[in-house]
Symmetry: C2
Subunit: 371 residues, 2 copies
């Protein structure tokens, strides 16, 4: 193939760490001709999307919108807006994405203290309590669903501890959002970001975010300019929520059409039913993979239903088997990241990809390959 040829792609079964499968309705919505990004019709679409972001984050936060770039830019949006040079930040690190937050916080000029747990384990609330002793950090940040390790991090107790310290509580919900319970207001989360290509099953490229009143107050009290122009909420918020929509950048119109449809599908199913579906398919996958000799990295009770981190059975060649799954069966599963590279797989059952047929297809293919 070369660029002169028409686009031809294989029909993959997406069971990696994202993107997940996208519903044909979403693809169809995305293919609608564009209206202008300041068109009153598009402003209505932005309002509708904002409402659906609020419903799915379970928040009434007014400063709730979608960053026009992928989840990592959502992460950066939260940190560059809330941190100023000299601020203290406590970042919980139990995988790649906690490490990424610590890296970004450092680039903001913050003094970063990390709270660490071994890969594959959750952070213990006591660790956060200890780290806060004698400290008055601006924020404490943690990853809800560590995509690199498969850990579901309990948040409520840690949120309580953070609140008592007066710090803002920042949460990465890229992989958990729309796949497992997440209650922004009830759990006292002050800033949260996610991605579109995981359990929401829209194409990658956007990042839903939300900020509490306390976080907005912190933004308003900044003494310095936000170091990123593109992500500076003092301007972005007037584009998304100002009485008169002020041009900031050109919103990705087609991606927003897709996102709107993906949200509609989530809300038609209902959050509770969607969470239950993710658990049911996780259980099915667990039975199938364990029967084949795979072992879960994370202990029961802390496993992500949408991202199953499993150790390979002895003698199974990571790259070779994943290549056969892809080339012979069109099935994509994810490899390990960082210290887990080559040692584990990350099997995604996210959004549209969380379905029994996919589990059955993977299990049957593995039986043939590993026989």
């Amino acid at each position: 193939m070369g660029y002169k040829d028409q686009l031809r792609t294989s029909r993959r079964v997406l069971m990696g760490p994202g993107p997940s499968d996208v519903h044909p309705r979403v693809l169809q919505a995305m293919a609608m001709p564009l209206v202008g990004h300041l068109d009153p019709e598009f402003v209505t679409i932005m309002d509708e999307i904002k409402e659906m972001v609020q419903l799915t984050f379970q928040t009434k936060n007014n400063l709730t919108f979608v960053v026009s770039a992928p989840g990592s830019a959502g992460m950066e949006t939260c940190l560059v807006n809330l941190l100023e040079p000299g601020d203290e930040a406590i970042i919980c690190v139990h995988g790649v994405f906690g490490g990424r937050m610590a890296d970004i916080a450092g680039r903001c000029g913050a003094t970063v203290t990390t709270v660490e747990a071994p890969w594959g384990e959750a952070i213990n609330p006591q660790q956060v309590k200890d780290a806060l002793k004698g400290k008055k950090p601006k924020l404490v940040a943690i990853v809800h669903a560590e995509t690199s390790t498969g850990v579901l991090q309990p948040l409520e107790e840690i949120s309580q501890i953070v609140k008592e310290s007066g710090a803002l509580f920042v949460v990465d919900a890229v992989t958990s959002y729309c796949g497992t319970p997440l209650k922004v207001d009830e759990w006292g989360i002050d800033a949260i970001y996610s991605g579109t290509q995981k359990c929401l099953s829209a194409p990658p490229g956007l990042s839903p975010v939300s900020f509490s009143e306390r976080a907005v107050k912190a933004l308003d009290n900044r003494k310095t300019k936000v170091q990123s122009w593109f992500l500076d909420l003092s301007m972005v918020k007037n584009y998304w929520a100002g009485a008169k929509r002020t041009y900031h950048h050109t919103a990705p119109v087609s991606a927003m059409y897709a996102l709107r449809e993906a949200y509609r599908i989530v809300l038609e199913e209902g959050l509770e039913k969607r969470y239950a579906r993710h658990i049911a398919n996780h259980q099915l996958l667990k039975r199938e993979l364990e029967a084949l000799g795979f072992e879960f990295v994370v202990k029961e009770g802390f496993r992500l239903p949408m991202l199953n981190a499993v150790k390979l059975p002895e003698g199974v060649d990571d790259a070779a088997v994943r290549a056969r799954l892809l080339n012979e069966y069109n099935i994509e599963v994810g490899g390990g990241l960082g210290q887990f590279a080559g040692k584990i797989w990350r099997v995604g059952l996210m959004g549209e990809s969380s379905q029994p047929n996919y589990v059955h297809a993977l299990a049957a293919a593995l039986k043939e390959i590993l026989k």
Copy 2:
């Protein structure tokens, strides 16, 4: 309408400052089911896109790729990677977007000197020469097509002057790219960014960029970390051009499908033919609008063919007439920005929107409204 209803939009004729019309082939490519962002098939697509970015920028630069966010993020990519705290930057400002570059350069900690021309005029090369006297700036930046004023800025003489000073030459080509001649290598441009929603006629949301060997050397010689993690080229380049593609962020797969198809259409037409088409339709629009009493903001010889900035005839109510064009004729034209708000229109004839039928439709509608 509410979010529970299916997406319904009007069929607009997009003649504003972008997005422009998107070809049905591009919409169709975008609606193809997704493959994973690290799938070998997607890596091939990235390679093909890179090749087409090089062809359209007329460059052999190896560090040529597409930022996973809109043009403003492309602007920020160039500046945050090339500037470090304490660096000197000369920024030419003759409209909103030059001003935005100066703002971002300041956020990078650079000492910014602006070279200014009145809105509607180009920067005179002598001004740049004067500004460089006794200075050793890291870079000089300028907007090729100032979307807020309709000015086409000649670049070659200024590039020569900048080169002689030893500074890097940074160019904003958001609106000019694929609509008017732009020769990155021949003109000695060291860093350039554009957008997808103008003369390239892909949906908004991505930013093609390119960096010369000299710029890459400057990146390699940085003493400090790039303040943005998301835009840090030392990592992004391994995702786009590394021997082993290293995961950085999840690329917007569907938007890249669309971009690939948009590039194919540009190259099928051919750059020279495309430039000529933009001029021909600009001439047609000029005749029609001048007959109706509109006057061009910019003097002949410096006018953008794809973005026509015109003063309204006396007594014409900006908002009211644009609202009638939109509501009764489905035609979008752009209003003025900044000091031009309420005073001028910006009529876009970009990419797919640069066609005689659109000019005729607008002229006929205006005749009815203004009669």
